[in-house]
Subunit: 127 residues, 4 copies
């Protein structure tokens, strides 16, 4: 990860792109690229989506968009001084307290709606 | 990274959330969380955005949303079988060929518009 | 539409929010709100999603997010001087030429993948 | 608006695209297209963004993406049975109560951070 981070820093520096890499611009770019990843799936049935990597052109697009999302996330973290792995570790710990493992047997909390997620925000009422 | 990936897998398994973690749902969730990161910045001036981490509540939100984005990206990659670091390394190599370092001195190619990016798609005409 | 547009203009002016309503900020806000609409659906099964309006709290959220998306779209169009209805009419006309009605009988063009859309971009290879 | 809505309905029906037009898919598509609109602005300076419509190619892209966003919003509203203009009118009324006009003179509430918005959610702490 650190090696890739440094290559991204060097890449932008060599092309004099740092002035464009503000936190706000990088957050926008991250959101745009996440949308491009979602675009691959938007009209697919669950079956088609599950088989996305068996179709070579789609598989290439998936890898490409994953790379873009990760690149912008890493670049964003660099400019704001956040360690993304540390942030994720801290969040997982908080969520292990917030979402205790159910000792019952029904999936998704047994309410028939279920659903994640480790990322679920307190204010999220959708699940 | 691998340790965190495994913790996310275990976390979802313990809560029986795997059925919700389809590629399409995770791509949607990644896009939603990227939007939440962008939301922090949407009304900020460039100066406020640059100082985002010096304001404790905003700094916490930034770390929290970074963690969410990375969590969903890692979970997405797990279900489709993509190694995100490998995908990023491959993309950086392609982009080093596509965007050769200018030997001139003007930033952004000297056209006054400039701009990145390592992630720039061939079809992207915005920059 | 024009009446609502004028109310949004007056609303922002009365609160002195115009300086924040730059095209870039409003495009970001529109994207953020679209993400919030998607968030309602991200973990829902197709059946739950189809019944979204029969659950009062979700129905309220849907209406609320639709209003937010439309508000920002209208405000964006106001600041850049675009008539959204005119833009849509022009696009429908272009698309009626680009996507002729198939005279065969197979859905989605008969390729078993099918899929829209009126909005499909030339470069979109996902469908 | 109603005329355009009907044309979109007919357009999808003639191409047998209705099965793809589920609420979840259309919410995803709306989010993707909003990202494409944002993409136009992501690397632009405030000055470039303000002048976006004076550059013909960008102006065309803006109109095109506005049309896409509106098309998917209208199609989403059709399948869930929401009247977007009615939803917006109701929201403006709620917001006129929630955000009373300041009788002082400082922009944005006088806190130096200011900022909108008519769409601001109760839980939004970013502004």
């Amino acid at each position: 990860m650190e090696g890739l981070r440094q290559r991204l820093v060097d890449f932008a520096a060599a092309r004099r792109w740092e002035p464009f890499h503000t936190p706000k611009n990088l957050a926008a770019a991250l959101s745009v690229e996440s949308g491009e990843l979602l675009e691959i799936f938007q009209w697919l049935t669950p079956e088609q989506a599950a088989a996305v990597m068996s179709e070579p052109e789609r598989a290439h697009r998936v890898r490409d968009e994953v790379a873009d999302v990760l690149a912008y996330l890493v670049q964003f973290c660099t400019v704001v001084g956040v360690d993304p792995l540390e942030a994720l570790a801290a969040k997982i710990e908080r969520n292990e307290l917030r979402f205790p493992v159910p000792d019952g047997s029904a999936a998704g909390g047994g309410d028939g709606e279920g659903g994640p997620d480790v990322n679920r925000d307190v204010g999220d009422q959708s699940v």
